[in-house]
Symmetry: C2
């Protein structure tokens, strides 16, 4: 196919960072029916070769900018030769429905990485398909990326990373998460979001619950999870206990660590992102 038929990414900005390129793109998403922005960090190694990519899924209220500016991940990604792909957390734009009351935990900024089936959300809120299929196809067609992928995220994005990685073990090499919503079918955030996007039939919720998926996993990918003990959302919203029990049940190769004294913020993520990137590098490189 000619480049003119496939080129859909428009560069919004590009900044040098640790010798690599921090780039913001916009593109029309046919899955989400809106224009989306996302950020990419291309390490210096991408000047001469296709590099593997870590997808980072952000949490409630975030855009692609939070992780880009606060996690300090570019330093290690530049050293290791791993690209970072940092999508937005929901569809955006004038035609995209939001929560009726503008809540922070539903609607814009809170797509929960599911394919919504309930109206009026079903047309736009298809974040699962966007992350699993459309975005990787687009960036791998237009950027110097190999087809080696790992996935990570924080809070709602940690939930997304676990669910997407567990359901698509052939597409990813490894999974990690910070403070993930580990059992959304049993916590207030998850119940609200799944009811709104998927409806009352709880059997439809199971496919998006990391603890359910992990308990039943046959050959799950390597998993690393970090949870701060001083996180104000732990344990009620995050249900790390369910995730630990699920890993035991399936015997999955999951390290789930409680980090004493850390909270839910990017100061926690910044403190451990190097360990997460090196964990993924073990599966993405060589």
């Amino acid at each position: 196919m000619a480049a003119s038929e496939t080129t859909k990414l428009t560069k919004v900005s590009e900044q040098l960072c640790f010798g690599g390129k921090q780039i913001r793109f916009k593109h029309p998403s046919s899955v989400l029916h809106c224009e989306m922005q996302f950020s990419v960090f291309l390490p210096p190694q991408a000047d001469n070769a296709r590099v593997p990519a870590l997808y980072w899924l952000s949490g409630l209220t975030c855009t692609d900018e939070n992780f880009s500016s606060k996690a300090g991940a570019q330093r290690i990604a530049a050293e290791l030769g791993i690209a970072l792909i940092i999508p937005d957390t929901s569809p955006r734009g004038d035609g995209v429905p939001d929560d009726d009351n503008g809540a922070y935990d539903f609607g814009l900024g809170a797509g929960f990485y599911v394919n919504a089936t309930r109206e009026p959300f079903a047309r736009h809120y298809q974040m699962y398909d966007y992350i699993v299929s459309e975005l990787p196809a687009q960036v791998e067609a237009e950027l110097p990326l190999s087809d080696k992928r790992s996935i990570s995220g924080h809070s709602m994005g940690g939930h997304g990373a676990l669910v997407i990685g567990l359901r698509n073990s052939q597409r990813y090499r490894s999974i990690s998460a910070f403070s993930p919503i580990g059992n959304p079918v049993n916590c207030p955030w998850g119940i609200k979001a799944f009811t709104g996007y998927l409806g009352e039939d709880k059997s439809q919720w199971q496919q998006y619950d990391a603890s359910v998926l992990l308990a039943e996993a046959q050959k799950p990918l390597p998993i690393l999870v970090d949870q701060g003990s001083a996180d104000s959302f732990y344990p009620e919203q995050l249900r790390t206990d369910s995730l630990i029990a699920a890993a035991k049940q399936s015997g999955a190769p999951a390290q789930i660590r409680l980090q004493q004294g850390y909270d839910h913020s990017y100061y926690f993520i910044a403190s451990f992102i190097e360990q997460h990137l090196k964990f993924h590098a073990g599966y993405l490189l060589g």
Copy 2:
């Protein structure tokens, strides 16, 4: 003196970061006649000993939060055992006058680290004295800090770091700056600010101009400056050329480096903050 007479710092928040403490304080400033907030990073070493401190002065529009969340400095500060003291960029609060038109480059968020003499700014805009005297006295009285200090900053804060370090060589060990406003008496930002805070008499401006001070310096402190070549404010506002000429004139021990392709953002700062911290460590430690 009893603690009750000297304790003025109130903790607003505290978060664990790289094993150290990222803390936000508020305190009444008798120099600025308002309540001020600032942030501190205490490395793990401060649990058992008094540690030296790097003061970081931020640029136009910033508060203490920009450097705290975006520079990634805590990682290296924790490794080296250096505290970070991160003040706000101007007086704040209801009684503090702002620019009549709310400009970003004068008034709130734009104190320029001078002692204003012109009304209505003179009562509150005394950032030079706040940074040189009041803030260090307060933090050294209440936090586990030694009296070893270095100073750094970005843009307007790079100007502040150079001016304060050059005029107070007995109080600091080393100076560094990212993208400093290197010759404010000759650039639009500086002319506007100095006219507004100091009045039309340009002889009063010289004491706040890094190029003037550096050219005349007898025994200046060690200086490291990084300037990005893709910075949209370079060269017109930043006048790095003047700073280089001044260093040559006085024979000062100043490294002034042009970093190819980097811009004015925190992605630039993050890329080189490790080198700056290690530069200061050479003078603060041992």
